[in-house]
């Protein structure tokens, strides 16, 4: 496996804020890596270091074995602009050709437009595009130079379901054609749809770096909401990993496996009513995950002291 990018003990501070804290990471050729974390976790900072836009406060970064802040190093890197950034008066064809001319062997405009569903829009000025169309154009620009490594920052935020699926399909086809992709998101769904390997970051640290299914097991929690007079007994049920009292007097239980938890609840004979089950949001899952990580760190500190 060729290493395309490597971060070695990278820390980046902005004044008093530590955006990345001693992060080491390798990105090898051939996979789609999902970078998952809540807003402000350090995902965008990590990408901007790989793009050469910023330099680390300490530690080293390598892109294709070189320094990402040197323009020639970035010849095989593909990035997306924010979709609001596209120059409003340029036509879609012009934007694609403009960016393509930075690379040795750009994808022909017609071919790229076909791939990302832009063929009918080539003559439009980007200012006249809808949000979804602009987003497709932004993502397409990342692939115009036949990059070896593509960095996609929140590629489908704000898109409807159809637009999102179409874009995911296009990214997957590009990956099959040989591009390694790093995609950031705070949507678990997006990471599930695209990534094979998942890196979970929070507060500038890497919490988890593992295969998709292993990470899903850790962050995918179900929430059971119910009203019961015997709250303590319900919290103590096997399979319940966390709980939270709600303002209306009901109780929320967090469980990894909702089916098992419901069976246990019924079998226990605890009286309850108004049961609803839903998936925990990523934010809620992260709270549990980070709490676990912090507990683990505290644990290891204690052991060291002992």
């Amino acid at each position: 496996m060729t290493t395309l990018a490597r971060l070695d003990r990278v820390t980046r501070r902005f004044g008093d804020v530590t955006a990345l804290d001693d992060v080491s990471l390798e990105i090898g050729a051939g996979r789609i890596v999902g970078l998952l974390g809540p807003n402000g976790a350090g995902k965008t900072t990590l990408l901007s270091l790989l793009q050469g836009l910023r330099r680390p406060s300490s530690g080293t970064i390598e892109l294709f074995g070189g320094d990402p802040s040197a323009p020639s190093t970035r010849a095989h890197l593909g990035c997306t602009p924010q979709e609001t950034a596209l120059p409003a008066t340029l036509r879609v064809r012009e934007v694609i050709e403009f960016i393509g001319r930075h690379f040795d062997q750009p994808v022909p405009t017609a071919e790229l437009a076909e791939e990302f569903g832009l063929t009918a829009l080539l003559k439009r000025q980007t200012g006249a595009l809808s949000g979804g169309q602009r987003r497709r154009l932004s993502v397409a620009l990342a692939f115009v130079g036949r990059p070896k490594l593509v960095l996609l920052d929140e590629p489908t935020t704000g898109l409807d379901v159809d637009g999102r699926r179409a874009l995911w399909d296009a990214v997957r086809r590009q990956h099959e054609a040989g591009a390694t992709v790093v995609v950031t998101s705070h949507y678990l769904e997006e990471i599930e749809a695209l990534a094979q390997r998942v890196v979970v970051v929070d507060r500038g640290r890497v919490l988890v770096d593992d295969e998709l299914h292993a990470v899903l097991d850790q962050v995918e929690l179900r929430m059971l909401r119910l009203t019961t007079p015997e709250a303590q007994a319900a919290i103590a049920l096997p399979g319940v990993v966390d709980s939270r009292p709600e303002a209306d007097g009901s109780l929320t239980l967090f469980a990894r496996d909702a089916d098992t938890a419901v069976r246990e609840l019924v079998a226990s004979g605890i009286p309850f009513r108004g049961l609803t089950v839903r998936g925990a949001s990523l934010e809620e899952a992260f709270l549990t995950l980070t709490a676990n990580a912090n507990a683990a760190i505290a644990e290891s500190l204690k052991e060291n002291q002992a």
Binding site: F14, G15, S48, Q51, G52, L53, R54, P71, S72, T73, R74, A75, L77, C79, T80, P81, Q82, T84, A85, L86, P87, T89, L90, E94, F98, I99, R101, H102, F103, Q125
Partner: protein
């Protein structure tokens, strides 16, 4: 080589963007031509005298190039810094020097376009006259004397937001134009104003181009002044550029 090719590419698309909003172009092109038409052509004392008319045409050409340099650099840089398109372009394999050259190409071309109507009106409606070699040498000196204005534009662009940049550029532009004798010839200045005027890059640029076109003596303060302005504004521009790199990333 790649740097020059990419500078050409960036200049081309930046020109396309500029010309898609033609009124912005017309503003900087028409004003110097109108100035010549209204203030010089009707005054036959000036317009019928070959030496004075030529100087008036030169003054308006200096004004056209100065206005274009200050406006284009000051406002485009301030605006580009506010747009998220700029950090995207910096992820592409393009050296920073190519982007600076692209600004110079596209703004330089606009400057050339801006003086064409001035030269045409001057040639047809006044007694202004110059040899071909004089005109060519004049254009070269015009390009050299545009440097301090471009650098001042860069300083403005990197030191303030675009709305402030518009206001500052306008004040600087008209201040330099009057003080430099581009609107009223320095011949009409009071002695104290004439002395003060010699410290302005606009006055120095005017003398430099007049010397190139009409010949005669070039006073040392004109070329020394231009060099001093280039040195000072270059240092300031570099300082502001570096400071901006640090500040933008917070």
């Amino acid at each position: 080589m790649t740097t020059f090719r990419l500078a050409g590419v960036h200049a081309k698309y930046s020109m396309i963007e500029t010309f898609r909003v033609p009124i912005a172009v017309i503003g900087s092109l028409v004003f110097p031509a109108l100035g010549l038409l209204f203030f010089v052509v009707p005054q036959r004392v000036v317009a019928d005298d070959p030496a004075f008319a030529t100087q008036a045409v030169i003054s308006m050409s200096v004004f056209a190039v100065m206005a274009n340099s200050l406006f284009s650099f000051g406002i485009s840089i301030a605006e580009d810094r506010e747009k998220p398109w700029d950090p995207y372009l910096r992820t592409l394999p393009v050296p920073g020097m190519a982007r600076v050259l692209a600004y110079i190409f596209s703004i330089g071309l606009m400057g050339v376009i801006a003086i064409i109507p001035v030269i045409v009106i001057g040639g047809l409606l006044t007694a202004a006259e110059a040899s071909i070699s004089g005109i060519l040498f004049g254009l070269v000196m015009l390009a050299v004397s545009a440097l301090p204005f471009m650098l001042i534009g860069i300083c403005v662009g990197y030191s303030m937001p675009s709305k402030a940049a518009i206001a500052v550029v306008q004040v600087v532009m008209f201040g330099f134009a009057f003080a430099g004798g581009l609107f009223l010839p320095p011949l009409l200045f009071a002695p104290w104003l004439d002395t003060l005027s010699k410290f302005f890059p606009s006055r120095q640029a005017r003398e430099l181009v007049i010397w190139a076109v009409q010949g005669g003596d070039l006073e040392p303060w004109a070329w020394l002044g231009i060099l001093a302005w280039i040195a000072m504004t270059l240092v300031l521009a570099l300082v502001l550029f570096r400071r901006d790199e640090g500040r933008r990333y917070r």
